[in-house]
């Protein structure tokens, strides 16, 4: 299912607000209404021009979606540089950002796969922690990945 989201990224405040809902309903609704009216009542020449414009816009939109998806597949630093150049909430409101994100960042690990082992130093540098040493104690382990920003 492809869907747009008005949810913000990292709490930017677009989540569920009036602007997001307006974009999701009014913009595509108006666009569809204008197109169908002109197709129904417009002259043949106008219809042809309109269809070409719509086709061009659709192609440009698809290309932009592809570019955003490709950026999402890049390392975090590269993706962040791309997003920093897209103004405001455009990426979230004009494109199916969440859908693309869920697919681009799905990852190869699946439920049932052996978890990649690691040995990492604690933030307080008091010791190291190895995943396999924890699971060897026959207890489940929760991994929470994140950062401060």
């Amino acid at each position: 299912m492809i869907y747009f989201t008005s949810k913000g990224w990292a709490g930017e405040g677009i989540a569920g607000n009036g602007l997001g809902r307006l974009f999701r309903l009014l913009i595509p609704g108006s666009f569809i209404l204008i197109i169908t009216t002109l197709l129904a009542y417009g002259r043949t020449v106008m219809k042809k021009v309109l269809l070409r414009i719509v086709a061009l816009l659709a192609i440009l939109w698809l290309c932009a979606c592809g570019a955003i998806y490709a950026a999402m597949r890049q390392p975090p630093e590269a993706f962040a540089h791309v997003m920093a150049r897209i103004p405001g909430p455009v990426a979230f409101l004009a494109f199916p950002f969440e859908t693309l994100w869920m697919r681009a960042r799905a990852g190869d690990l699946k439920q049932g796969d052996l978890a990649p082992d690691f040995t990492l130093t604690r933030v307080d540098k008091s010791s190291s922690i190895q995943l396999s040493a924890l699971t060897a104690k026959q207890r489940p382990v929760v991994l929470i990945f994140g950062s401060y920003t």
Binding site: A10, P76, M102, Q111, L120, V123, I144, Y148, T149
Partner: protein, 105 residues
């Protein structure tokens, strides 16, 4: 597990971070990353063991974890639960349900 910053101020600054006074540039050394991670653990009062991913982000890549993600590894060392990519898929409730199932078995 502390991984690459999601919104460093020199790359992709977010207004919400400015409002919350969480403004950090991209760390360029292990020590810088450790300092930011330490501030995070301290300010947020994180109690569980916090570890720091290596500077090459090897663990983050293995788990496709950026910017945030949840995993549950069962007692056999296998992935019992993998959240959808964060932030949209970061769901503590789902993790809780998965943990209950694993513990029950």
């Amino acid at each position: 597990m502390y991984i690459t910053e999601a919104h460093p101020s020199d790359v992709w600054q977010m207004q919400s971070n400015i409002r919350d006074s969480v403004v950090f540039a991209s760390p360029h050394t292990e020590e810088e990353r450790a300092l930011i991670a330490g501030a995070c653990v301290s300010k947020l009062g994180i109690k569980p063991a916090a570890v720091l991913d290596q500077f090459g982000n090897a663990t983050e890549k293995a788990y496709t974890a950026w910017p945030d993600r949840l995993y549950l590894i069962d007692a056999t060392g296998r992935v019992a639960y993998k959240s959808r990519p964060g932030p949209f898929g970061f769901n503590a409730g789902e993790l809780g349900d998965a943990l209950k199932q694993v513990v029950a078995h």
